[in-house]
Protein backbone atom coordinates (compact mmCIF):
# COMPACT_ATOMS: atom_id res chain seq x y z
CA UNK A 1 0.00 0.00 0.00
CA UNK A 2 1.25 3.47 -0.74
CA UNK A 3 3.18 5.36 1.86
CA UNK A 4 3.66 9.10 1.94
CA UNK A 5 6.55 9.85 -0.35
CA UNK A 6 8.00 13.29 -0.04
CA UNK A 7 9.27 14.36 -3.48
CA UNK A 8 12.05 16.23 -1.70
CA UNK A 9 13.22 13.25 0.33
CA UNK A 10 16.97 13.14 0.61
CA UNK A 11 19.25 10.18 0.16
CA UNK A 12 20.75 9.59 3.61
CA UNK A 13 23.38 7.21 4.99
CA UNK A 14 20.95 5.74 7.54
CA UNK A 15 17.97 5.67 5.21
CA UNK A 16 16.06 7.78 7.72
CA UNK A 17 14.76 11.22 6.75
CA UNK A 18 16.81 14.07 8.26
CA UNK A 19 13.85 15.65 9.99
CA UNK A 20 12.68 12.40 11.54
CA UNK A 21 16.16 11.58 12.85
CA UNK A 22 16.55 15.11 14.16
CA UNK A 23 13.16 15.01 15.83
CA UNK A 24 13.89 11.79 17.71
CA UNK A 25 17.10 13.39 19.00
CA UNK A 26 14.97 16.31 20.20
CA UNK A 27 12.52 13.97 21.96
CA UNK A 28 15.41 12.17 23.63
CA UNK A 29 16.72 15.49 24.89
CA UNK A 30 13.25 16.62 26.07
CA UNK A 31 13.05 13.43 28.15
CA UNK A 32 16.00 14.67 30.18
CA UNK A 33 14.34 18.11 30.42
CA UNK A 34 11.17 16.67 31.93
CA UNK A 35 13.17 14.33 34.17
CA UNK A 36 14.87 17.33 35.78
CA UNK A 37 11.50 19.01 36.37
CA UNK A 38 10.10 15.76 37.79
CA UNK A 39 13.10 15.47 40.10
CA UNK A 40 12.31 18.97 41.36
CA UNK A 41 8.80 17.77 42.27
CA UNK A 42 10.09 14.58 43.89
CA UNK A 43 12.83 16.10 46.04
CA UNK A 44 10.48 18.69 47.50
CA UNK A 45 7.53 16.33 47.94
CA UNK A 46 5.98 16.62 51.39
CA UNK A 47 6.80 20.27 51.96
CA UNK A 48 3.40 21.98 52.22
CA UNK A 49 4.14 24.91 54.58
CA UNK A 50 0.85 24.39 56.39
CA UNK A 51 -1.12 24.93 53.20
CA UNK A 52 -3.19 22.46 51.20
CA UNK A 53 -1.59 19.08 50.57
CA UNK A 54 -1.85 16.88 47.46
CA UNK A 55 -4.36 14.61 49.15
CA UNK A 56 -6.50 17.64 50.04
CA UNK A 57 -6.67 18.85 46.47
CA UNK A 58 -6.29 16.06 43.94
CA UNK A 59 -9.46 14.84 42.27
CA UNK A 60 -8.51 11.46 40.88
CA UNK A 61 -11.73 10.71 39.00
CA UNK A 62 -11.54 14.05 37.20
CA UNK A 63 -7.86 13.74 36.41
CA UNK A 64 -8.46 10.22 35.13
CA UNK A 65 -10.96 11.60 32.66
CA UNK A 66 -8.51 14.21 31.37
CA UNK A 67 -5.80 11.54 31.17
CA UNK A 68 -8.18 9.40 29.16
CA UNK A 69 -8.95 12.30 26.82
CA UNK A 70 -5.26 12.92 26.16
CA UNK A 71 -4.61 9.24 25.60
CA UNK A 72 -7.46 8.98 23.10
CA UNK A 73 -6.21 12.10 21.38
CA UNK A 74 -3.02 10.13 20.69
CA UNK A 75 -5.18 7.51 19.01
CA UNK A 76 -6.83 10.20 16.93
CA UNK A 77 -3.41 11.54 15.99
CA UNK A 78 -2.04 8.22 14.80
CA UNK A 79 -5.22 7.61 12.81
CA UNK A 80 -4.59 11.00 11.22
CA UNK A 81 -1.00 10.09 10.31
CA UNK A 82 -2.22 6.78 8.96
CA UNK A 83 -4.88 8.45 6.79
CA UNK A 84 -2.40 10.99 5.46
CA UNK A 85 0.08 8.28 4.52
CA UNK A 86 -2.64 6.38 2.68
CA UNK A 87 -3.58 9.50 0.71
CA UNK A 88 -6.94 9.90 2.47
CA UNK A 89 -6.56 13.68 2.45
CA UNK A 90 -9.84 14.67 4.07
CA UNK A 91 -9.62 12.03 6.77
CA UNK A 92 -6.12 13.30 7.51
CA UNK A 93 -7.62 16.73 8.15
CA UNK A 94 -10.50 15.33 10.20
CA UNK A 95 -8.41 13.27 12.60
CA UNK A 96 -5.93 16.13 13.03
CA UNK A 97 -8.80 18.45 13.91
CA UNK A 98 -10.20 15.92 16.39
CA UNK A 99 -6.77 15.59 18.02
CA UNK A 100 -6.48 19.34 18.39
CA UNK A 101 -9.96 19.54 19.86
CA UNK A 102 -9.20 16.82 22.40
CA UNK A 103 -5.98 18.63 23.27
CA UNK A 104 -8.02 21.75 23.97
CA UNK A 105 -10.35 19.73 26.21
CA UNK A 106 -7.33 18.49 28.17
CA UNK A 107 -6.10 22.05 28.53
CA UNK A 108 -9.57 23.03 29.71
CA UNK A 109 -9.35 20.46 32.49
CA UNK A 110 -5.90 21.83 33.43
CA UNK A 111 -7.16 25.39 33.57
CA UNK A 112 -10.07 24.30 35.76
CA UNK A 113 -7.76 22.37 38.07
CA UNK A 114 -5.28 25.25 38.41
CA UNK A 115 -7.98 27.79 39.20
CA UNK A 116 -9.66 25.43 41.67
CA UNK A 117 -6.38 24.76 43.48
CA UNK A 118 -5.56 28.46 43.57
CA UNK A 119 -8.97 29.11 45.05
CA UNK A 120 -8.16 26.58 47.76
CA UNK A 121 -4.97 28.46 48.62
CA UNK A 122 -2.30 26.73 46.55
CA UNK A 123 -0.18 29.18 44.60
CA UNK A 124 3.28 29.28 43.07
CA UNK A 125 4.53 31.02 46.22
CA UNK A 126 2.45 29.39 48.94
CA UNK A 127 4.64 26.31 49.38
CA UNK A 128 7.16 24.01 47.66
CA UNK A 129 4.23 21.81 46.67
CA UNK A 130 2.65 24.82 44.96
CA UNK A 131 5.88 25.76 43.20
CA UNK A 132 6.77 22.32 41.95
CA UNK A 133 3.22 21.27 41.05
CA UNK A 134 2.38 24.33 38.97
CA UNK A 135 5.77 24.48 37.23
CA UNK A 136 5.89 20.78 36.35
CA UNK A 137 2.29 20.43 35.17
CA UNK A 138 2.41 23.94 33.74
CA UNK A 139 5.35 23.14 31.49
CA UNK A 140 3.56 20.02 30.37
CA UNK A 141 0.47 22.07 29.65
CA UNK A 142 2.57 24.57 27.74
CA UNK A 143 3.88 21.71 25.61
CA UNK A 144 0.29 20.62 24.93
CA UNK A 145 -0.62 24.18 23.97
CA UNK A 146 2.31 24.36 21.55
CA UNK A 147 1.12 21.04 20.15
CA UNK A 148 -2.40 22.38 19.61
CA UNK A 149 -0.99 25.43 17.79
CA UNK A 150 1.13 23.08 15.69
CA UNK A 151 -1.90 20.96 14.77
CA UNK A 152 -3.98 24.04 13.92
CA UNK A 153 -1.09 25.22 11.72
CA UNK A 154 -1.18 21.82 9.99
CA UNK A 155 -4.87 22.32 9.32
CA UNK A 156 -4.06 25.67 7.76
CA UNK A 157 -1.33 24.01 5.70
CA UNK A 158 -3.87 21.49 4.37
CA UNK A 159 -6.67 23.97 3.88
CA UNK A 160 -6.79 23.58 0.09
CA UNK A 161 -5.93 19.97 -0.68
CA UNK A 162 -6.23 18.28 2.69
CA UNK A 163 -3.45 16.35 4.40
CA UNK A 164 -2.40 13.59 2.06
CA UNK A 165 0.63 11.64 0.99
CA UNK A 166 2.65 14.70 -0.01
CA UNK A 167 2.27 16.19 3.49
CA UNK A 168 2.35 12.91 5.41
CA UNK A 169 5.89 13.45 6.66
CA UNK A 170 4.86 16.75 8.24
CA UNK A 171 1.85 15.14 9.90
CA UNK A 172 4.06 12.30 11.13
CA UNK A 173 6.54 14.66 12.83
CA UNK A 174 3.67 16.55 14.48
CA UNK A 175 2.36 13.17 15.57
CA UNK A 176 5.66 12.23 17.19
CA UNK A 177 5.55 15.44 19.20
CA UNK A 178 1.96 14.84 20.25
CA UNK A 179 2.61 11.26 21.37
CA UNK A 180 5.64 12.38 23.33
CA UNK A 181 3.60 14.95 25.21
CA UNK A 182 1.11 12.16 25.93
CA UNK A 183 3.90 9.89 27.18
CA UNK A 184 5.10 12.60 29.57
CA UNK A 185 1.58 12.84 30.97
CA UNK A 186 1.49 9.06 31.43
CA UNK A 187 4.47 9.46 33.74
CA UNK A 188 3.12 12.58 35.48
CA UNK A 189 -0.30 11.02 36.15
CA UNK A 190 1.39 8.26 38.11
CA UNK A 191 4.20 10.20 39.75
CA UNK A 192 2.12 13.20 40.83
CA UNK A 193 -1.43 11.96 41.26
CA UNK A 194 -1.72 8.20 41.74
CA UNK A 195 1.20 7.66 44.15
CA UNK A 196 -0.40 10.13 46.52
CA UNK A 197 -3.11 7.63 47.38
CA UNK A 198 -0.98 4.55 47.96
CA UNK A 199 -1.27 3.26 51.50
Amino acid sequence: MAHGHDPHAQVTNTGIDNRKLGFWLFLSSESVFFACLIVGYLVYHGSNSGGPTPRDLFNIPLTTISTFVLLMSSLAMVLGVNSAQRGENRKGMLWTAITAAMGLVFLGFQVYEFSHFAHEGLTLSSSLFGTTFYVLTGFHGAHVAVGVIWLLSLLFYGRKGGLGADKADDVEVAGLYWHFVDIVWIVLFTVIYLVEFVS
Binding site: M1, H3, H5, H8, Q10, V11, T12, N13, T14, G15, I16, K20, L21, W24, L25, L27, S28, S29, E30, S31, V32, F34, A35, C36, I38, V39, L42, V43, I60, P61, T64, T67, F68, L71, M72, S74, L75, M77, V78, L79, N82, E172, G175, L176, H179, F180, D182, I183, I186, V187, F189, T190, L194, V195, F197, V198, S199
Partner: protein, 104 residues
Protein backbone atom coordinates in the same frame (compact mmCIF):
# COMPACT_ATOMS: atom_id res chain seq x y z
CA UNK B 1 19.13 20.44 -0.15
CA UNK B 2 19.79 17.34 -2.23
CA UNK B 3 23.13 15.64 -1.62
CA UNK B 4 24.03 13.41 -4.54
CA UNK B 5 25.08 10.42 -2.50
CA UNK B 6 23.98 6.87 -2.87
CA UNK B 7 25.15 5.27 0.34
CA UNK B 8 22.82 3.31 2.55
CA UNK B 9 19.34 1.97 2.11
CA UNK B 10 16.52 4.09 0.84
CA UNK B 11 14.15 1.96 2.97
CA UNK B 12 11.20 3.76 4.47
CA UNK B 13 9.86 0.88 6.57
CA UNK B 14 10.98 -2.67 7.17
CA UNK B 15 9.49 -5.17 4.75
CA UNK B 16 6.65 -6.71 6.78
CA UNK B 17 3.07 -5.98 7.78
CA UNK B 18 2.48 -2.31 8.39
CA UNK B 19 0.03 -1.48 11.20
CA UNK B 20 -3.53 -0.76 10.17
CA UNK B 21 -6.11 1.52 11.69
CA UNK B 22 -7.49 -1.57 13.40
CA UNK B 23 -4.13 -2.17 15.14
CA UNK B 24 -4.11 1.37 16.44
CA UNK B 25 -7.66 1.17 17.75
CA UNK B 26 -6.84 -2.10 19.54
CA UNK B 27 -3.82 -0.49 21.18
CA UNK B 28 -6.03 2.45 22.09
CA UNK B 29 -8.42 0.05 23.77
CA UNK B 30 -5.62 -1.57 25.75
CA UNK B 31 -4.44 1.86 26.86
CA UNK B 32 -7.96 2.72 28.00
CA UNK B 33 -8.19 -0.52 30.00
CA UNK B 34 -4.84 0.12 31.68
CA UNK B 35 -5.97 3.63 32.56
CA UNK B 36 -9.10 2.15 34.10
CA UNK B 37 -6.91 -0.20 36.14
CA UNK B 38 -4.78 2.75 37.27
CA UNK B 39 -7.95 4.51 38.30
CA UNK B 40 -8.92 1.39 40.18
CA UNK B 41 -5.81 1.60 42.35
CA UNK B 42 -7.34 4.73 43.89
CA UNK B 43 -9.84 2.51 45.64
CA UNK B 44 -7.41 -0.23 46.68
CA UNK B 45 -5.69 0.12 50.05
CA UNK B 46 -3.00 -1.69 51.97
CA UNK B 47 -0.70 -2.89 49.19
CA UNK B 48 2.19 -0.67 50.24
CA UNK B 49 5.34 -1.07 48.15
CA UNK B 50 3.57 -3.53 45.88
CA UNK B 51 1.26 -0.72 44.79
CA UNK B 52 4.20 1.48 43.81
CA UNK B 53 5.55 -1.36 41.73
CA UNK B 54 2.15 -1.97 40.16
CA UNK B 55 1.74 1.68 39.23
CA UNK B 56 5.28 1.78 37.83
CA UNK B 57 4.65 -1.31 35.71
CA UNK B 58 1.33 0.00 34.41
CA UNK B 59 2.79 3.33 33.35
CA UNK B 60 5.85 1.66 31.79
CA UNK B 61 3.56 -0.57 29.75
CA UNK B 62 1.54 2.45 28.54
CA UNK B 63 4.78 4.29 27.74
CA UNK B 64 6.05 1.33 25.76
CA UNK B 65 2.76 0.85 23.87
CA UNK B 66 2.58 4.48 22.79
CA UNK B 67 6.25 4.48 21.81
CA UNK B 68 6.25 1.19 19.92
CA UNK B 69 2.95 1.45 18.09
CA UNK B 70 1.73 5.02 17.97
CA UNK B 71 5.21 6.45 17.50
CA UNK B 72 5.98 3.60 15.10
CA UNK B 73 9.30 2.63 16.74
CA UNK B 74 8.53 -1.04 16.45
CA UNK B 75 8.53 -0.71 12.68
CA UNK B 76 11.43 1.67 12.28
CA UNK B 77 15.15 1.16 12.08
CA UNK B 78 16.56 0.29 15.48
CA UNK B 79 18.69 3.41 15.68
CA UNK B 80 15.62 5.56 16.35
CA UNK B 81 14.53 3.48 19.31
CA UNK B 82 18.16 3.49 20.42
CA UNK B 83 18.34 7.28 20.32
CA UNK B 84 15.14 7.60 22.34
CA UNK B 85 16.25 4.90 24.77
CA UNK B 86 19.48 6.74 25.56
CA UNK B 87 17.53 9.83 26.58
CA UNK B 88 14.97 7.91 28.60
CA UNK B 89 17.58 5.81 30.40
CA UNK B 90 19.72 8.85 31.16
CA UNK B 91 16.61 10.67 32.37
CA UNK B 92 15.71 7.76 34.66
CA UNK B 93 19.22 7.45 36.08
CA UNK B 94 19.46 11.22 36.67
CA UNK B 95 16.11 11.18 38.46
CA UNK B 96 17.19 8.37 40.74
CA UNK B 97 20.60 9.93 41.42
CA UNK B 98 19.28 13.41 42.14
CA UNK B 99 16.38 12.13 44.25
CA UNK B 100 18.50 9.97 46.51
CA UNK B 101 21.62 12.06 46.93
CA UNK B 102 21.64 14.02 50.19
CA UNK B 103 20.24 17.52 49.79
CA UNK B 104 20.67 18.72 53.35
Amino acid sequence: MKPEIHGGAQAHVKAHAHPTAKTFVSIGLVLAVITALEFGTYYVAGWGTLMYITLAVLSVVKFWLVGSYFMHLRYEQRILAGIFAVGVILATLMTIALKYVNLA
